[in-house]
C-alpha cells in the first residue's frame, strides 16, 4: 500500500502593527476605537512605571521579590481588553497590565509582593484568580472554571496566561487535553518570552513554534506578535468567540520578550546577550503604540509628559496605600485554614503554643488565651 498524508496543517502568524510602525489597516481598523487606544496606552504606561517603582522598593528593602512585567504589557493588556469583564482571567504572575485593566487595585498587587495574603483576596466580581506561583498548574483551574460556566450555561469563558516554560509542565498538557476533549470554553494564552529564568526556549520545545502544540490536542492554534496590541486583541477576540459560541478552546502563542530580569532575585546578564535585549528594546510595545498614536494625531509630547506625571502619581499613591495597610494580627495565621477551626487549631491559635499545655499536675487548666498581637 502506498503511504498517504493523513494530517497536514500550518501555523498562522498575525501581525498588524509591526516593530517598524508598519500598520495593516485591513486587519487593524475597527479593532480598537481611538479613545480605548489612549486608555490602553495609559494603562501600559502606569504598569511600566509600577515596574520601575517596585524594583526600587525591593532594592531598598520595602518589598520582597518582585517579577517585572516590562516588555510583555501588550499581550496581557490586549487579552484583557478582548475579553468580557465577566470572563475568568487565570494569570500566572506577570499579568499586571491585564489585571489593572480588569479593575484590580494596584495596591493589591503590591500587597501580594509585600508578603501579605490579603493581596490575593480578589473581589469575586473581578473574575480574576490569584497569581499562581507554581508553573503551569493554573491552566487546569481555568479549565475547571470554564467547565463550571458551561455547566451553568453562563456563556462565560476562561482565559489563562502562562509562559513558554509552562508548556513543558504536565499540567499544561492535561489542561489542553481536558479542554479539547470535554469541549471547554478556554483560551490558552502563552506568553513566549523566550526565557524560563535562564533556560532558553529551545530546551522547552524542539518544534519551530510553541503554537503547534495545540495541534496535538485537536484545537485551533495560532501565533501572533505579542508586542503588537492590535494582533493580540484580534486573536484573543476570535479565540474568545470560538470558546463562547462553540465551546472550543484555542491555543495562542504570543511572541514577546521579558525585558527585565525574571524577578528582582535574578540577574539576566548572567545568561543572555545584551545584543538580544537591545533588539527587543527596539520592539517595545509602548514605543510602538506611542508612535502609532502620534502618527494618527492622537498623541503628542505634552500629552506624554502629562501622562508620565499622572502615572507617577498613581503609582506613588498605590504604594502609599499598600504600605499604609497594617500588618494583620497574628491570629490571621490560623483564621483561614478552614471555614471553622478544629479544636487543635483553636488551641494553637489561643495559646500560640504547640506543647502539652496545662497537662502537668501543677497546671491543670489550659494556659490563658493571648490577644491577636
Amino acid at each position: 500500500m502506498p503511504t498517504k498524508t493523513v494530517f497536514k496543517t500550518e501555523i498562522e502568524y498575525v501581525s498588524i502593527l509591526d516593530e517598524h510602525g508598519q500598520y495593516d489597516p485591513k486587519l487593524g481598523d475597527g479593532l480598537v476605537p481611538d479613545e480605548d487606544l489612549i486608555r490602553l496606552y495609559e494603562h501600559m504606561t502606569a504598569c511600566r512605571h509600577l515596574d520601575e517603582v517596585a524594583f526600587k522598593l525591593q532594592r531598598s528593602g520595602r518589598m520582597g521579590t518582585y517579577p517585572q512585567n516590562m516588555g510583555q504589557e501588550a499581550t496581557s493588556l490586549g487579552a484583557a481588553y478582548a475579553l468580557e469583564k465577566t470572563d475568568w482571567m487565570v494569570p500566572c504572575y506577570r499579568e499586571n497590565a491585564g489585571l489593572f485593566w480588569r479593575g484590580m487595585p494596584m495596591e493589591m498587587v503590591l500587597l501580594h509582593w509585600m508578603g501579605d495574603e490579603r493581596g490575593n483576596a480578589i473581589p469575586r466580581e473581578l473574575f480574576c484568580t490569584p497569581l499562581a506561583i507554581p508553573i503551569g498548574t493554573q491552566m487546569l483551574h481555568a479549565a475547571g472554571l470554564a467547565w463550571a460556566a458551561k455547566y451553568r450555561d453562563e456563556k462565560r469563558i476562561a482565559c489563562t496566561f502562562f509562559g513558554d516554560g509552562a508548556t513543558s509542565e504536565g499540567d499544561f498538557h492535561e489542561a489542553m487535553n481536558f479542554s479539547a476533549n470535554l469541549d471547554l470554553p478556554v483560551v490558552f494564552l502563552c506568553q513566549n518570552n523566550f526565557w524560563a529564568i535562564s533556560v532558553p526556549g529551545r530546551i522547552q520545545c524542539s518544534a519551530p513554534t510553541l503554537a503547534q502544540r495545540g495541534l496535538a490536542y485537536g484545537m485551533d492554534c495560532i501565533q501572533c506578535d505579542g508586542n503588537d496590541l492590535f494582533a493580540v486583541v484580534k486573536v484573543v477576540r476570535e479565540a474568545a468567540r470560538r470558546a463562547r459560541e462553540e465551546n472550543r478552546p484555542t491555543f495562542i502563542e504570543a511572541v514577546t520578550y521579558r525585558l527585565g530580569d525574571h524577578t528582582t532575585a535574578d540577574d539576566a546578564r548572567r545568561y543572555r546577550d545584551q545584543a538580544e535585549v537591545d533588539l527587543w528594546k527596539a520592539r517595545d510595545p509602548l514605543i510602538r503604540l506611542r508612535g502609532f498614536m502620534k502618527e494618527k494625531g492622537l498623541w503628542n509630547d505634552s500629552k506624554e509628559a502629562e501622562l508620565q506625571e499622572k502615572a507617577e502619581r498613581e503609582v506613588a499613591e498605590a504604594v502609599q496605600r499598600a504600605e499604609g495597610i497594617e500588618t494583620p494580627p497574628s491570629t490571621d495565621v490560623f483564621d483561614h485554614t478552614f471555614a471553622e477551626l478544629d479544636p487543635q487549631l483553636t488551641l494553637q491559635r489561643a495559646t500560640r503554643r504547640t506543647t502539652s499545655i496545662g497537662q502537668s499536675p501543677d497546671a491543670a487548666a489550659p494556659a490563658p488565651a493571648v490577644d491577636g498581637h
Partner: protein
C-alpha cells in the same frame, strides 16, 4: 432501611446528594457508564446524565486540577482517583492548590471538593493498589481526611464531606467494600467530620484504629477475652482526641492499629497526643501495630504486612503486661 455493603452505602449517598444539590458533579476515570472500577458510581451516569457524571481523560492531576477550578466557581465536584497509589500525580493540585486556596486568598476563594479514593490492602491487587497514604494528607494543613469503616458511617460521612466548605480526602477502605452488610437508613443523616465512633466499651485498654483495620481489631478483642475499648477514628484529620483521651484516662493503656507504615504513620501523632494529654494516667507505653516501614509487598505476602488479630493480640498482651 436497607441492608447495604459499604459500596452500596456510598452509592446511595451520591445518588441522594446529587438529587438534592445540582452543584454536585462526579468526575474521574471510568466513573461514567462503567460505574467505576469498584462500581461505586454504578447507575449514576444513567440517572443524572453525562454532564453530571463525567468520564475524564486519564490524568489524575487533570482530574483534581479541573475539580479545583469547578469548586472555585462554586460547584461541589466529587472526583474519583481510582486507587490511592495513583494519588501521586495529583499531589501538587491537592496540596499546592486545594489545601491552600482559602488561606492564600484569605477566604476570597474556597475549594469545597471531595476526593474519593479507594485505599488500603488485602484485596489481592497489583502493585500500587494497596497503600495507605492517609498520614501524608493529614500532614497537609487545609485538608480534612476521612476514612469510614462501616456502611452506615460511609453514607453519613460522605454527605458531611460533600457539604463541607473545605477540601476533604475521602478514603474508602476497599478491603471492606463488600465484606459485610449493615442497616443503612434511606433517610438523610450526616456524621460530623472529626467525631470518632465508640465501637465497644472496655475497662482495661483503649484500642484506636480506622478503616479496614477496625475489623481486625474486633477479631483481636474477641480472641483476647479482655475488656477493651475500641475507638474507630472515622476522621484522621481533624481527629477526635477528646474521645481518645477520655478513654485512655479511664483505661491507662492504648494500642493504635493502622495499615500504613509505622514511622510517621498517623499512629505516631496519636501516641504523641496521648503522651501529652494523658501522661499521668498511662500505665504502659502506647503500642503501635502498623504496616512495616517497607514498600507494601505484592499480594502473596500482603497478609504478612497488614496488622492482623494475632499481631494486635500480642500488642495487647505487651501493653497489659506493664
Amino acid at each position: 432501611m436497607a441492608n447495604l455493603t459499604l459500596v452500596q452505602a456510598i452509592n446511595l449517598a451520591l445518588v441522594q446528594e446529587m438529587e438534592r444539590d445540582d452543584r454536585v458533579v462526579v468526575l474521574g476515570e471510568d466513573v461514567g457508564p462503567n460505574g467505576g472500577v469498584f462500581r461505586v458510581t454504578e447507575g449514576l451516569h444513567k440517572r443524572f446524565g453525562g454532564h453530571r457524571v463525567i468520564d475524564t481523560p486519564l490524568a489524575e492531576s487533570g482530574i483534581i486540577g479541573t475539580s479545583v477550578g469547578l469548586a472555585m466557581a462554586g460547584l461541589r465536584p466529587i472526583p474519583e482517583i481510582q486507587f490511592e497509589g495513583f494519588l501521586g500525580p495529583a499531589y501538587d493540585q491537592i496540596c499546592s492548590h486545594a489545601a491552600r486556596m482559602r488561606t492564600r486568598t484569605r477566604g476570597a476563594f474556597t475549594v469545597p471538593l471531595t476526593v474519593r479514593v479507594p485505599v488500603g490492602g488485602g484485596i489481592h491487587a497489583p502493585e500500587l493498589h494497596s497503600d495507605s497514604p492517609e498520614a501524608i494528607y493529614a500532614h497537609q494543613p487545609g485538608l480534612k481526611v476521612v476514612m469510614p469503616a462501616s456502611p452506615y458511617d460511609a453514607k453519613g460521612l460522605l454527605l458531611s464531606a460533600i457539604r463541607d466548605p473545605d477540601p476533604v480526602i475521602f478514603f474508602e477502605p476497599k478491603r471492606i467494600y463488600r465484606a459485610f452488610r449493615e442497616e443503612v437508613p434511606e433517610d438523610e443523616y450526616t456524621i460530623p467530620i472529626g467525631k470518632a465512633r465508640m465501637v465497644c466499651e472496655g475497662e482495661e485498654l483503649t484500642m484506636v484504629s480506622w478503616g479496614a483495620s477496625v475489623v481486625q481489631c474486633m477479631q483481636a478483642i474477641e480472641k483476647s477475652g479482655r475488656s477493651i475499648e475500641l475507638i474507630d477514628l472515622r476522621t484522621i484529620y481533624p481527629f477526635d482526641m477528646e474521645m481518645v483521651a477520655a478513654s485512655v484516662r479511664k483505661t491507662g493503656r492504648a494500642v493504635v492499629v493502622h495499615e500504613a507504615p509505622k514511622t510517621c504513620g498517623f499512629g505516631a501523632e496519636i501516641a504523641s497526643r496521648i503522651m501529652e494529654e494523658c501522661f499521668l494516667h498511662l500505665e504502659a507505653p502506647v503500642q503501635r501495630v502498623a504496616g512495616f516501614d517497607t514498600i507494601m509487598p505484592y499480594y502473596k505476602l500482603e497478609l504478612e504486612y497488614l496488622p492482623d488479630a494475632e499481631r494486635i493480640g500480642l500488642a495487647v498482651d505487651e501493653a497489659l503486661a506493664y
